[in-house]
Symmetry: D2
Subunit: 351 residues, 4 copies
């Protein structure tokens, strides 16, 4: 089979010919139809995240090994199954849950495998979806899709959709609350759709670009703020009787955005940090108890969350959008475009 692989960080991906795996035991081999291109792939490709004081947190120190086939948003058809698999069979259209854990840690035991102490996620720690086939360690990581569901628009549910949904759940919104969504790219739009679908809260979208904010409004934002044109703290305070935001979900999570977020939080506010942009925040410690703030790091979501998403998308309650399609040998181009901000929605590779 063919796979587009990162052989060394920062270098162009190589399309290599690898042995097609044969599933054993509970394993499943999935023939990939669509594989989403995610911003965290860029970090894996670059080989680091940005920490405090300009320090680089290397992916190899977090357990990533190269060469690696990236790609964790995978949809396709079951090709073959291991000898112990009874409940799923060849030809089934599936979405793959990639956030696989070791199985024995407390997170795994309650279905939060995405937060496992020793993660084995596909496309990060194990070979993933920039390939013709992927080997999934157990039939349990598959989510069945109806035949009429599109794999291109569904693939991104397993990371972009899941990350947005996990963040919405962590924000713990009530219908009489407001939530500020920072960043209206792919994840932000998905979060707006999901907040609309399941929370009843008032949605305020914030970004730097009027066009994106217009799209945000069409996707369900009640109010939009262009933080280039309006002073964001003032704008939020005016909208909220000077009380501040009940919750903020920051899909950028850079020093500058979070410093601003901290200035328009209502007492008891939840600030959900999602983006991997990085940098540092100078946090006033005494303010945490007196204002009863919660800073919540939110990372992807659970298998159960993904099943909920597939149900919502299958009934058209949410509508994920794909903007760019690539072939396997265009993987480097796809990552480059994403890095440079040239993909407005979501890119998908069709291997």
């Amino acid at each position: 089979m063919k796979a587009a692989r990162i052989v060394k960080p920062k270098e162009s991906l190589q399309v290599q010919e690898l042995d097609t795996p044969k599933p054993k035991g509970f394993q499943i081999l999935v023939k990939i139809q669509s594989s989403g291109v995610c911003h965290s792939d860029v970090h894996v490709w670059e080989g680091y995240y940005e920490g405090i004081d300009g320090q680089q947190l290397k992916t190899t120190e977090r357990g990533v090994k190269y060469p690696l086939t990236p790609g964790h948003e995978i949809a396709g058809l079951v090709d073959s199954v291991g000898d112990q698999v009874e409940v799923i069979s060849r030809g089934q259209k599936v979405l793959v849950y990639p956030w696989i854990g070791e199985g024995l840690c407390p997170a795994c035991r309650i279905g939060e495998e995405n937060l496992c102490d020793k993660p084995r996620s596909l496309g990060i720690y194990k070979d993933g979806g920039y390939a013709q086939y992927v080997l999934v360690p157990s039939y349990r990581y598959l989510v069945k899709m109806e035949d009429d569901m599109d794999t291109d628009t569904s693939a991104p549910l397993s990371c972009a959709g899941l990350t947005a949904y996990g963040a919405i759940k962590n924000a713990n919104l009530k219908p009489n609350e407001n939530v500020v969504i920072i960043g209206t790219g792919g994840l932000g739009l998905m979060a707006i759709q999901l907040a609309k679908a399941v929370t009843g809260a008032k949605i305020i979208a914030m970004d730097l670009d009027d066009k994106k904010l217009e799209v945000a409004k069409k996707n369900g934002a009640d109010i939009t703020i262009n933080s280039k044109k309006e002073e964001p703290v003032k704008a939020i305070m005016e909208l909220t009787d000077k009380l501040g935001a009940d919750a903020v979900i920051d899909f950028v999570n850079a020093s500058k955005t979070v410093e601003t977020d901290m200035q328009f939080l209502r007492r008891r506010a939840r600030l959900v940090l999602v983006g991997l942009f990085g940098g540092e925040l100078k946090l006033s410690l005494v303010t945490m108890p007196t204002r009863a703030y919660r800073l919540i790091g939110s990372y992807t979501g659970t298998l159960s969350d993904l099943i909920e998403l597939v149900s919502l998308a299958g009934r058209g309650v949410i509508k994920p959008v794909v903007s760019n399609r690539f072939k396997l040998d265009q993987a480097t181009e796809a990552l480059t475009m994403l890095k440079e901000g040239k993909i407005s929605g979501r890119g998908v590779i069709n291997p």
Copy 2:
């Protein structure tokens, strides 16, 4: 009636003769038997909290007005009741819930009056318990005590007990988890007792003083660490298979303690910030999502929490301790001793 009042920040308290209030409507006049001396009284007396960059956050900017009768840990007897009060009467022994809100904000509506947008807490925004009588705005803020309960040991439940309990609840502990308690003064000891009583978790107490840690062990700590003698990060990592702490409750909440806490958190850990020591933390933003941390500011507790505490104390499940007793005219002495670290447990004023 007599009251010990802060006329101006930092000056000695004055014992003044004031009109004894007459309760109307739902109001209650409580004759005070015991009034706890709390570390936050010291901040109200000093007039500020420490923010970031050495900045002082003034109490007057947070709405405190002087002269003020401090004291929010109040136990006594119902003296007289307003004309609309039907369900409680003179002579009833009561604990007063001091964390009173305005009543119309979302926090108040779900019983989280302690986190009201416009708080009216007794002893902070309204006259409190360093006095012979206190006027409580509604019978609803009273918690009935059994006649055999001691007011001296019970009074601190309404702040020291409540703050410890609120923190334990925010830590959301499971029986197979560990929790590190930073600081084993009055609040830390109460938290150890409460964690023991209602969580089943493994309790690790950390402090700088062997004597205090010995007391912590007697109060229920499973393991103690003297962070002066042992390197705390190394110690926690060794105790936890190199995984880190499931939860940390920091009753100091100073730059130095929190910086250390951040280094021994397990993935998914809750770091509950309680103390009002203040200062700043340089927080790595990308670490929040990738490690799925939660930083939770915890401030006192709800009326319902207080009722639970009174039930636990009434049955001897927890045993609050009082170490020093003062007269009303010793209020300045009490605050000075507390500020200088000369009160090992909890001080109480008997007016």
Copy 3:
């Protein structure tokens, strides 16, 4: 002031001239603009509920005293306020939360006053809304309405809306679940709208009348079943891969409907019992643990729930409908029509 009162169960209501109350302390006098006519008013008028073995549970044995001004769905304007009220003033448009408790029981302490041990609900234990004015015991029971909100359509939020919402919350629905709504009268329709707005679940509406089911579909039901034409158990089983319903909300709650419900519950199902029709169910005890069923009695909702509802209605996310309007002297006619099933939506009295 004028009030339409039940002087004796089953007799025509009398319009009496009563002294207009004067608010003291925290009390508020509300000038009533709209007062909803609720099916539970019929029970209070008839003087009983149906128990097991054909037995009648008398309202007087549950603490109701006659003569009584019924009516617990009240919207209007603040007329005057007690001397201790600071945060709300004359002319404010308000919805009244009628499910008032004594204030000291555990339910009241966590904001579940609707489930107080010793309830004092307006229109049931205290004089209610079939009148020109109502005396509300504290400003805390008022929910502010925007000036552009209509009192006629808003009044029913405080019982019909709240009961539907409480039931939806008790059903604890997830987006990948289905819920069967039994009965598509006023409450059922409201429940369908609310399930649509905040749960993402698949909604199956069941009733005996095609016209009502058509309305249900317009209000958001995904699937409708006419249980006169289709065998309901078979219909649900076919829709659910023979697994059964994840949740059922029964707004009738009569022997016949609940016996049927029990036959199409999925393992782990929640059966939420709301209606006051009554009768008995022969429950197989061993089935409860082996199938892990939950039978949940659901009664109105909390003040916080009402605030959420007003927020949803204020933004047009839900749209309550009023079908019939009456004058105060038509109160007996309104109750009679409701009893005989001649009010299809909701009736409102404009005093």
Copy 4:
């Protein structure tokens, strides 16, 4: 290997010589040291549960197939592992989680495999622990035990312990509440210990035998009621200011006990039904909403619950007790003694 098997319901078990399974893929072969004898084994042996109207619910209609090796409380040593198992190895002392599901249903997805739509539980649907070895379908169903933990007292944690713990969790107790435990056999005692360890609630134990109630008191019951000597409804009402019990956990769950339970429930009470005794209850439907009762069927517990239990038992916070030990060829004798009420604590087979 040897196994004691039910060849036909009601007949004596046969000790048969079977092929020892060889683990493949994720499978594990456990050499059994202790296998608990549980009351539900008696039902599987008898072939039915008691339904309503004296009807028998047959185990074969619920999917049980004979011959079957019963036994679902299994502790032992890992003997050998499948070729895909990396994280556990030969010699490890383990407890087996027997409540295994198919893996794709919503319950399985959130870690509630015990409530799977298509269960494959060991000892019920698959061969279990009355044998020298048991084949476990994945390493994920093993809970590691410290070497100093005793397998005899630990084995019953996986059903008796888990069922008690699941019931305690379903009762959702607060420290200011009371809970009535009906039945103080093995499960009841375990529930008392667990309620003591993690809830802070006041525990009232009810049974017919003074000796058992004495043991209940030693295990942590605050109050005991002999329902043969005292009228139980009157007794509970006197203890609770005529308000009733906040929660009841019924480990008998027979018509007679549940009819009594229903008479001493406080408004908002949770009645947790656990026992498999069976029979019927005539339930007043209108009472469910007006009193806001919750009837909760509780069946075993999750893998995560079991890990919590092993942690509590490992630190001596709870102390499970074994009263009778049997050899494999005494399996029929063990079941007979249990059926006849001749085992006071818990019986264990050492194969």
